[in-house]
Point group: C2
Chain length 410, copies 2
């Protein structure tokens, strides 16, 4: 017997038939003797419809009223799923954020969970009642109003609830059957990982593998919640997904567990910047104030010895804004020229195993060089190496690296 939290996203509860399918899956876990809490999102499309109504009524609207409106999507699904469970003879009841309560701060639209009172839920679950909990929502601790956690917040609700309930596992049912070594659309030989560490998952999530919300993985890591990524379709129910867990649960660590890529990168180069102390701060300060997330940064000494060339990447959508901010300050910053390019891709190899192994970077550089792929920028962290290359080489590079690190399925 285990205590588990199951989470189903908007597509999984997108219509009545799918809600009934979800109910059958939940009933399986109850019949297996588990104590179960289920977290659900709004029916797919519903949140967009509600957001659209808010936007139509007023372009600049009160985030608190926005939360009142959009939180109704999850309220509908918890009611419907509870009915579907009862229809199968499974005891169930719905819980809104304010009823549990799930206390959050009052940053409406992007609230953070502060505390979940599990007393009543635990009692009911022990009696065999399934707790059907509205994801994405809570109640503001100082204003007693409905809050929402922001897009994708239901993953965070599920992990937070699993932490508070001290659940044995948090199963996230989604539209993929697990976490893969890389994008199977590019590499047909990509393998599903049985286990992946929180750290690796975080790198993968933020680098473009859209399986779990980054916030939910951070929370799982912080509280040690074992998260299983599973497919929501019945034909996958007997197939294990991917367990996201601590390093201690992974005996045989692979050197590299995944190859990711991100096309949302624009490269900006400033040439002949005066090489004075504080120049980097003067350049990146205005970008930070403009809420532009600077990612890869390299600085080279220029040929003349007293100036420097600086290259960095920003999200594609922020390119023009970054350029404008820097051009406005050309005199102050004292650079000679500014160049901005799209058409680049960031490819990364990720693996906790590389901490204790040398030569991982060398394998990457050699694999790319062998295919004549020029590396424009390199950055590294403890568990990943990222390179910026020309976008046209994306598939070639990802496939070459997947093979080079021995990740191809047999």
């Amino acid at each position: 017997m285990a205590r588990i939290v199951m989470k189903f996203g908007g597509t999984s509860v997108g219509d009545i038939e799918r809600i009934k399918t979800v109910a059958r899956r939940v009933a399986d876990e109850v019949e297996a003797g588990n104590e179960v809490a289920v977290v659900v999102s709004a029916m797919s499309g519903d949140t967009n419809r509600l957001v659209g109504l808010c936007r139509d009524v007023s372009a600049m609207h009160d985030a608190r009223e926005h939360d009142v409106v959009v939180s109704t999507g999850e309220q509908v699904t918890v009611g419907l799923l509870s009915m579907a469970l009862q229809d199968l003879g499974v005891e169930a009841r719905s819980w809104m954020g304010w009823q549990i309560p799930i206390r959050t701060d009052v940053a409406h639209g992007r609230a953070r969970i502060l505390d979940i009172d599990t007393t009543t839920l635990l009692e009911r679950m022990a009696q065999g009642q399934v707790a059907v909990v509205a994801g994405f929502q809570g109640i503001g601790d100082t204003d007693n109003r409905v809050t929402t956690l922001g897009r994708g917040g239901s993953d965070t609700s599920a992990v937070a609830l699993a932490a508070a309930l001290e659940a044995d596992r948090c199963d996230i049912y989604t539209d993929v059957d697990g976490v893969y070594t890389t994008d199977p659309r590019i590499v047909p030989k990509a393998r599903k990982l049985a286990r992946v560490t929180y750290e690796e998952m975080l790198e993968m999530a933020s680098l473009g593998a859209k399986v779990l919300q980054t916030r939910s993985v951070e929370m799982a890591m912080k509280y040690g919640v074992r998260v299983q990524v599973r497919h929501s379709w019945p034909e996958y129910w007997t197939v294990p997904g991917t367990l996201v867990c601590g390093e201690d649960e992974i005996v045989e660590k692979e050197l590299v567990s995944g190859i990711t890529y991100s096309r949302d990168e624009a490269k900006v180069t400033l040439t002949k910047v005066s090489d004075l102390p504080g120049v980097a701060a003067r350049i990146f300060g205005p970008l930070a104030e403009g809420n532009i997330n600077v990612d890869m940064i390299v600085q080279n000494v220029s040929d003349d010895g007293h100036s420097t060339d600086l290259t960095f990447t920003v999200p594609t959508g922020d390119r023009d804004k970054a350029v404008r901010l820097l051009e406005d300050r050309q005199e102050e910053l004292g650079y000679k020229a500014l160049a901005a390019h799209d058409g680049v891709v960031k490819v990364s190899v990720i693996g906790v195993g590389m901490r204790s192994h040398a030569g991982v970077a060398q394998t990457m550089f050699k694999a790319l060089a062998d295919r004549g792929i020029n590396i424009q920028v390199i950055t590294t962290s403890e568990i990943k190496i990222s390179v910026l290359i020309s976008e046209e080489y994306t598939e070639l590079a990802v496939r070459a690296l997947h093979t080079a690190y021995g990740l191809d399925a047999a």
Copy 2:
């Protein structure tokens, strides 16, 4: 300066443009210096959509979960209307039933309001903030769950809130501009009443004039809430509606204030029922247990002197059930024959003035007799006289009575 409650139904908030129109009307009242609370229904069609989802997921569903789902309709409109008001520069915030709270019993789907805590609302209204309150919903006093008041419950919410706030007036904005002396579709010379008493309104509401929910009028009468029926379209905003109030506010009482009709009547006749004590109880007991609402009843001594003929009416939809119940008991009840007929209409004249005037009934009987209309059944109360006639005479009878009581507009 007055304290007023304004209520807008589903059609009035049926789309974003209409919600903005409602906001303008509310803004007018705020600019006039009034303290305002607004009660709104769900956008028209939304409640039906939500009810449909519940029905599709499970034919026999938990009323508590049903309430969770359907109450979201009003939650959406309070959020949107608050935004629309803020967009006009009017301070406003939304309130769900559980936030105020509006405490009800736990008869989910048809809950009764027990108590409304107005402390915070009054403070905010005094500071100029409009309270935008979700109609139709409350919170169960013993289960802490969302309750709904049943169809049309938003009128009841509005009147109950007006009573609790000790409001000067409760304006119900709807799709008619007031209460008429009769159905203007039948009598083009029907007049809008400036004032009508609670008692008259109750008779009118339950007899077929679908302007206000009966429950809301009962509550208005109990707490002395002055209710104004108004049209929600802007072209009617300068036109007064009809005030539903106590008799003391009506100086010049009309003898008859309205003529109503109801086609939802079926006539059942039992002939030669043994005329023994308790026979009526034995006949109507089973009907009451079957939840069949018996309306008009007449009993005549039969020609033979020791048996009786009994005629009564039931709602058309209950006719077959009533017949079945009585046929099952023919032996026990000892009647000779049972006949049931549709094709009848109940026409009523209503007026508090008839209490103190004789001859009101005579005017009715003469007017009908002059047109050759046969009266099948008659019942009377202190402020109304109802007759059952053949349905084909509906229009003729209503027009004749409207003229006979001097109600025709000049």
